[in-house]
Each structure stands twice: as C-alpha cells, then as structure tokens.
C-alpha cells in the first residue's frame, strides 16, 4: 500500500511501482468472473506460490550441502 500502486518498472528507488500481492487485492474485487483479467490474477497468485516453493527448495539444498560437509 505504501508502494504507490503504479504499474510501471521503477527506474529509481524513489519511484512508485506495485507488487504482485497488492495488485491482486486491489483488482480482484472489480473483475468479471470469466475474463482474462481474472485468470491473469490467478496466474499471479500461482507465480507467488511457485516463487516461495523454489525459495524453500533452494534453502533445502543449501542445508543439505552444509550437513554433508
């Protein structure tokens, strides 16, 4: 919410932009059910799920290397 919710690639640290999570919250309430927009929002959520899954996998791999050494 503090980030400004502007759909652009930020050129500097002081430019407003937006993130996946807040965009979903902002837009999900005013999309039609069977529209591409709706599905793209769900795709964004799926991306978030994937990102956290990959991060956990990386952490697991790092932990395993530490244990083997």
């Amino acid at each position: 919410m503090v980030i400004g919710n502007t759909p652009q690639l930020a050129k500097s640290l002081f430019a407003p932009t937006s993130v996946l999570t807040s965009n979903i919250v902002m837009q999900i309430s005013n999309v039609e059910f069977d529209s591409t927009w709706n599905y793209s929002l769900h795709m964004m959520a799926f991306l978030l799920l994937l990102i956290s899954f990959v991060l956990i996998l990386i952490i697991r791999l790092l932990g395993r290397k530490r244990r083997d050494a």
Binding site: M1, T21, S29, H42, A45, L48, L49, S52, I56
Partner: protein, 293 residues
Amino acid sequence: MNGFTRTRHTARAQRRNKLATIGFYTLGVLVMLLIFWLLFTILSKGLPSLRLDFLLKQPEEIDPGGGIGPVLFNSFYILFISLLISVPIGIGAGIYMAEYAPDNAFTGALRICVESLSSVPSIVFGLLGLAIFAEYFGVGLTILGGGVSLALLNLPMLARVTEEAVRAVPGEIREAGYALGMTKFHVIRKVVVPVALPAIVTGVCLVAGRAFGESAVIILTAGLSTSGEMWDFNLFSPGETLAVHLWYVQSEAIVEDARQIADKSAAVLVFVVLLINFMFRFPLWLGNRRRGR
C-alpha cells in the same frame, strides 16, 4: 605473569570483542526502540479518544461518528472459527510428522510442501478461499469462508511449530514412559504433549495474532461489509473484520472522520493482539511459577 602476556594479537582480539559486544547491544536496543516507538505512535494516536460506544456502534458510510461494533465482533468470531478448525488438525499433523512419520522421501516431500505453504503470501490463500466458496459452492462472501480460509493459512505454520515442539522433548522421558509399559498413544498423550505444551501454546498464540491482523484473506473471502446487525452469529452473512475495516476506512471510505476511525481502529487492533498474547501466556507463566515452587 604466568605465561599470558598482552601481545598485539590478543590486544586486537580484545578490542574486537569489546566492539562486537557494543555492536550487538546497540542492535538489540535499536530493535526494542523501534517496537516501542511503533506501539507508542499507534496507541498514543488512538487510545486517548477511544470511548466505549465507539467499540459498540455501527460503522457509518456517510455520516461521521461511526463505530466498529459488528466489525470487532466479526474479528473475534472468525478468529474463533479458524482456531476451532486449525488447532486440532494442525497439532495432530505436527504430532504425526514428529512421532509417526517414517524418514523417507515421501515424508521429506511432505515437509517441503508444508514449509512452502507456510511461506506463501496470504493473498494466495485468499484466492483459494474465493475459488472454493464464492465460485465453486456459490455461497458468496461469508464468515464461514473467511474462517476456513484463515484456518488453511494457519495450518502449515501450526503443524510446523507443533512438530518442532514435539521433537524437542527429550527421548529419555519417552523411554521412561515405554519402560512403564505405556502404549505409544498413552506416552504421547500423558508425557510428550504436556512437556511440549508451552511451545505449542506459544505457536497457537502467534498464529492467533497473525489471524487477527490478517486482511488480505478476509477481503477476498468474507467481504468488505457487515450484515448490519450486532451479534450476528449467522455463518453465511458477510463478515468484515477489524483489520479489513482499517484498510477500507484508510483507503476507500468517504466519511470525514476516516482518519480518526483509522487511528482508533489501529489502537484497538494492537491492543487486542497484545491482550491475546497475554491471555495465552499468563496461565503458562502461572503454571511455571507453581512448578518452580
């Protein structure tokens, strides 16, 4: 001088030691200051103008002077429903993972799944709840949907905390139980769980605080409005919670005293979360004292 002289090397080590001590103290104090500053700003803005009727009145759309009555009630109601669902399942799953699960690839995969679920942004669970309740079952935005989605959000975290707590119970205590001829379930019920209880309660309390302050999930599953009645126990009415109301008032509402309402709601929110923590921990603290005596 019994063989220990202050060489340049040890002098440097000592200097570094002192520096590190000062550094860690400063960082610790900094974090404490940050927390107290946050609490102080929120509470000092909201608490002085807080009256009892603000806690009980209906929220207003246009006129100033609206309260947070049904919203506050919905917060507790949804929290209660979500805990009712997530605590038994979460603790059961945690005990399974720690005591029964064999150490193979399947359990490893399950553990990775639990971990990644507990780190997923809450909005993803919100979308899941929306897809299940609003679109599949077609009941719309309801208190029940909010409670169940919150429970889903909290389950992985709860399972993890319980697993760690049960794993931390020393094996000797368990073996002593087996030596007395107790069955596995009996040992878990009478020995393991009581020892692990403080850590489990801390986990439940963390989860409750998180659920109480959660907004993204509730917006998508329980909606942005209330049924307009105080004490509405109907599971299928829309249930806006306090955190959602705070977000709504701050960003979309058109009442002229939105700022004051937001300040007061924030103060109430922080206060209730503190209260929940205190309420969960006070019995534990009391029990520890009694045992210590």
